[in-house]
Symmetry: C2
Subunit: 391 residues, 2 copies
């Protein structure tokens, strides 16, 4: 025998999947209505719903009322039947949340990142999860999945983080493996900007758009791409690493290799340098610089204007390559409306088909949201997905 006999026959899996999807789409629904919507017979629906209720995935919640005919029992997803964790690892803060099968946030917290990095972070994650699980009224071993967002370039195959300048020691261990072994739960590691893009796709500006880019502008720069409705990672996981775009400087300058030509031109350090170059004196952080701009300082305005011009050219380049319908900006610089308005002004002057520009809906929670979105999607796939046999 090459393949063992399927535990649950394919036909029943398909029926179960159809029922689950129908209940997800409709919230609270009777078996008779499920039958009408799926086209399956009442008998089949009753069987499937009985199995799902026995296994805890569905629960009866009430009755129809007021219409002629016998009242129907209505069923809902038992959201608590699947809980997962999303963690956003930043260089200064770690945000974490537990969400249920419907994507509701059940518990959430935020702590300072352990500056020692490496295995200390794994310990920190582990403690966070135990604490969150308690707050959610459950225990860590009941959690089905962890999605971890991290800066850096991840190898799509192994999950190893190859480049992560801002987090010490994290490229020395196989974070996914170590963390997963420690918790005895599957762990997905993903680039934080990619997660932010997924977050916007799930419940943000990208909800109705299959082709958009999330551009993060802050200390560093990065991009997450949603194309044909799914995340685009590239051959080495480096898709969207726009730090290396040959814009804002000479592409052949060897200095661009370390930081990246574009990042050297529009990162927060470059902005402050530019501000000082224009004669500014009152800003040591980007927040100061925007404050100076709002106070009417011309050198701050010039620094922002020049940055916006370069970002507009970068977006033109991205538009020529990817044709996104929408570009969502985020990060400490990218979330500033002052900058985004300036970009909106430049864009139609450097590309014939400018995409729409929006500021991220979730601010610094975008990556956390994206992690939850992936977790929910993955739980659905694992629990109710229909997988055809590989030949």
């Amino acid at each position: 025998m090459i393949s063992s006999v399927a535990q649950t026959p394919i036909a029943r899996k398909i029926s179960t999947n159809a029922v689950i999807r129908t209940v997800f789409a409709n919230g609270s629904i009777s078996r008779a209505d499920i039958a009408k919507l799926t086209g399956l017979s009442k008998q089949t629906i009753s069987d499937v719903v009985r199995d799902l209720e026995d296994d805890g995935w569905l629960k009866p919640v009430g009755q129809t009322d007021g219409r002629p005919g016998r009242n129907a029992i209505t069923y809902e997803i038992n959201a608590r039947a699947g809980l997962a964790v999303s963690i956003d690892l930043g260089s200064t803060k770690i945000a974490a949340a537990i969400c249920d099968l419907l994507g509701n946030v059940v518990a959430e917290t935020k702590v300072s990142t352990d500056p020692r990095g490496g295995m200390h972070l794994v310990n920190q994650f582990s403690d966070l999860i135990v604490e969150l699980a308690f707050a959610a009224g459950t225990t860590a071993d009941k959690l089905r999945l962890v999605v971890l967002g991290s800066p850096g370039v991840l190898d799509p195959a192994t999950g190893h983080i190859n480049v992560a300048p801002s987090i010490p020691g994290i490229d020395a261990i196989n974070l996914r493996q170590v963390f997963s072994d420690r918790m005895a739960i599957p762990v997905i590691v993903e680039n934080d900007v990619n997660l932010a893009a997924q977050g916007e796709r799930w419940r943000g500006h990208g909800i109705e758009t299959s082709n958009f880019a999330f551009v993060a502008l802050g200390t560093g720069v990065g991009m997450g791409i949603i194309a044909n409705g799914t995340l685009l990672r590239g051959a080495r996981g480096a898709a969207g690493e726009i730090a290396y775009l040959p814009i804002g400087g000479d592409a052949f300058d060897p200095g661009g290799f370390t930081l990246g030509t574009f990042e050297s031109a529009v990162g927060s350090a470059a902005m402050l340098r530019r501000y000082v170059g224009f004669g500014g004196r009152n800003a040591s952080t980007v927040a100061d610089l925007f404050a100076a701009f709002n106070a009417g300082e011309t050198s701050a305005a010039a620094a922002i204007e020049e940055t916006a011009r370069l970002v507009a050219v970068a977006i033109a380049a991205i538009g020529a390559a990817l044709d996104p319908e929408l570009v969502i900006t985020g990060g400490s610089i990218g979330a500033r409306p002052e900058l985004v308005n300036a970009i909106r002004g430049f864009l139609p002057r450097c590309t014939p088909y400018p995409p729409r520009i929006e500021i991220s809906r979730f601010g610094n929670r975008a990556a956390l949201m994206g992690g939850m979105g992936i977790a929910v999607e993955r739980m659905h796939d694992d629990l109710f997905g229909v997988k055809l046999r590989e030949v």
Copy 2:
């Protein structure tokens, strides 16, 4: 009743699909071997194969021999059971071919493009197909599908060609609709560079690569992107329109809007202009220019060098956005090894992670090949694909 009862139950469709895929993967195979490879029972395989043979999809071809035990009858795909047409519409030539279910070319031809454009082209396609069908020993009404590659930006939803400078009158009609109505066959219209990328994906350099780009350099410039193994079209079908990359000129120069900044800098007109600027006198076409280069003319070398430098920067930009493993070049300029070698020299100096560069395997037949690849894939989907019911 909302949905009509499925004609063929899903389980049988899945089994049929598994059988077909196994036969495709193994060429000539016995029913017993199909059973071993799929894990399905011998009985089921016999039933499915009998149905497929009755309907003409499979045919017995011989017997096993020489091994102990009873000889088995071997079966093959009946390749002639599905024939489709691929057409590559160029500004000067139209190439067309008929291929079978296995992607074998059954008939092929090439004619000059009718310069009057518009509906005259539809007539020309129609005549070509009738002629090819005759050469293939069949009739046009037996063909299942036409894939048409055309220059220009196509709306992914409607198939309408929005921008096509080199073909007159083709943006005035809904080519897909008109052509499909005329032939009474489904027609797929796709950008020619996208088709070239698909061709390389199907049977060229991209056969083992899920993330690569096909860059066409000639009179105009364009790019086809394969990401996650599938074609990337973008929101308006303009993904890969690298003519508008802000490279090789000032992105804010309004002149760049008509032709595109990058195309103005590296198209064949720009190359010849550059050659003359360097003092060249002996070239009125790009072929002349490369001949002058091979004769040792320094102004030709300088023109090619400068073009290669700009293309390298463009590939660096594409690499930063998409992280392809490979870039395949084609077109009258992009297929020249002289240029590609120069690009290979520049690339590591302007990007830290240069992709591999290869010249298209199919020359000017790449788009035709891509059309066949799509046609074969689509025929398989239509004929044997498993579609789950939409809820």
